[in-house]
Amino acid sequence: MNEYNFAYLDEQTKRMIRRAILKGLAVPGYQVPFASREMPMPYGWGTGGVQISAATLTPEDTFKVIDQGADDTTNAVSIRKFFEITAGVETTEETKKATVIQTRHRIPEAKLREDQIIVYQVPIPEPLRFLEPRETETRKMHSLEEYGLMHVKLYEDISQHGAISTAYAYPVKVSGRYVMDPSPIPKFDNPKLEMDAIQLFGAGREQRIYAVPPHTEVVSLDFEDYPFEATKADHPCDLCGAEDSYLDEVILDDTGNRMFVCSDTDYCRSRRAAGHVGRLAGEGAA
C-alpha cells in the first residue's frame, strides 16, 4: 500500500483535522465541525476516531485499539490492521505501552498518563440530539448554555423510575461550560474522564471533533438529592478476581448460569499474570 500517504490521509487533510483538534482542546467540550472524509471503512464504524488517529500518529508512536474494552474484537482488529498497513506503526495490546489508544465504548481500567492520547469513536456527538433532533436548534442551545431540557429529562427519569435511567453515554459538563456526550461508554467510566491524558473525540459521519484537555473538570450531570452513581455488575471478575473493573456478563449454558469477566482484556490478563485468580479461572484455561 505504498501509494498511500503515512496513516492514509494526505497531509492537507491531516492539517485540517489537527486544526479542529487544537480548537477542540482550546474550547473543551465544544463540538468543532470538520470536513470529514470518506474513509475505506463505513461511517458508524469508527471513521471519526480513525481520522483523528491518522492526524495524531507519528512514526514513533505505539498504537492500541480496543472495542468494548477488548483488543481482539473484530472491528478493533480491523482498525489496528489498517494502521499497521498504512502507517507501519508499532502496535500493542498493553495499555501501559501505548502512546495513542483508539477506543470504542470503554476507557481502560489502568490509569492513563500525561504522555498518552486516547481517541474515542463517537456515533452521535450531540448530547441533546435525542431531546431535539435539529442541529440548528441544538447549536443554539449550546451557544446560549441553555441546558434546561437536559435537566428536565433527567428529572422526568427520576419521577418515573426513581433513578436516572441513562446507563451509557451519560452526559457530562466540561470545565463548567459545555454539556458533552462522552461517547457510549458505560457510566461506570465517567469518573475516569478527569484524567492526565489528552482525550479526543471523533464523529466522522456527523463531521464533529471535540476534546477534553488533561486535568480538566468533567462533571456527570445529576441532582444534589440524586447524585451520580457509577455502577457495574455486583460481582468480582471470574477470571482474575478484580472487584474494581467493569464486567461483561457471559452466558455459559441454557440453564441460566453466567459468569462475569473483565471487559478490559489487557487489565484482566495482566492481573492473572500477576497471580490473581478468579472463581472460574482454572476451568477457563482448559
Partner: protein, 363 residues
Amino acid sequence: MYVAVKGGEKAIENAHAWLAEERRGSTDVAELSIAQIREQLGLAVNRVMAEGSLFDPELAALAIKQARGDLIEAIFLIRAYRTTLPRFGYSKPMETGQMACDRRISATFKDAPGGQVLGSTFDYTHRLLDFKLAADGEVAPAPQNPPCEDPTLHITEFLRGENIIQDEPRSDDAPGDLTREPMEFPSNRPLRLQSLARGDEGFVLGMAYSTQRGYARNHAFVGELRIGKVSVEMDIPELGFAIEIGEVELTECETVNQFKGSKTEPPQFTRGYGLVFGQSERKSIAMALLDRALRWEELGEDNLGAPAQDEEFVLSHADNIQATGFLEHIKLPHYVDFQSELELVRKLRREAEGRNSPKEVAE
C-alpha cells in the same frame, strides 16, 4: 466453560477469502469482465458514478464487480477511492445548452426547436420478459439519422423570453463544496443540489414522490429532460485560456412548476432542477421535484411542515453511504452498553418490587 473470544484476525481473513470465492461464483461459469459490466450494465454503472461522485465508467464497473452487484457497496468503494485523489482544479461551469443530445423530451410543448428526440428509453416498452435474451442477446443495429450539429436550446429559454418563468439570480461566486467543508444549516441551493446529485436514488425518489402525493405538492411539469454528452473545460494557468479536457454524459431535468404568486411576486412559473451523471432519468426528475420543494422559503411559500420541505431533514438523510454505515454499525458488538442497560433495568425492577411488596405486608 468460557473460552475468551480470540482469533478475530484469523476469522476476518477467512471471511474475506470466503467472500472472494462467493463473488466469483461457480467456476463452471465464465468470469464477468469489466468491459462487459461497463457495456451491458450501463445504467448500474451510471448510478455508481452519480452517487459515487466520480465520472469513470471503468472504475465504476470494477466497483460493481468487486461489490458483487451491491450498488451501494460499489458507490462506497468509489467514494473511498475518490477522497484519495488530489484536486488539481475546478472545471469551468458546464454548458448544458451545448449538449449533444441523445434524448430530449418536453412534456410542456408538443414541439419546440430541436424537436422531441425519444432516444434509447424504456418508456413505451411493454414490460414483458424477453426470453430470447436468455438464449441469444444479439441484436440488429438500430436505424440511424445524421447527428444534429446545432446546439439545442433549453425549453425554459422560450418561457423566459415571455418573462412568464422566474429568472434565476445570476452570480459568479464560486459555490461551496460539500466534500471539502462540513455541511451547515441553513444551507444554500448550490450545496443542496450537490447533496441531492449524490444522494441515494431511492431516498430522493421517495421524497419527490411524497410531494406528488400532497406533502408540499408543487405541480411539476417536466419542461425538459435531456441526456447527452457535454464537454468539460478547464482554465490552464500556464496557457492563459480554457481547454477541453474531456466530456461527460449527463441527464438534466428542468421542471416548470405552478406558482400562485405571493405578496411581493406576481404569478409566474418557477423551476426545479436536476443534474446527474450518466443516463439517470428517474433520479434527475426526482431531484428536480425535491429541489423545487426545498425552495419554499426563497419563493415566499408557506412551510407546510412536509418532510420534502425540510432541508435539514432531507440533506442529513440523503446520503446512502452515511446511512448504510450507521445503520449497519449496530451489527458491531455493543455488549458493554447492553450490560449497563441490563444492570440498570435489573436495579429499577428490584426497586419497584421493593416499593410494592412491603407496602402490601404493612396493609
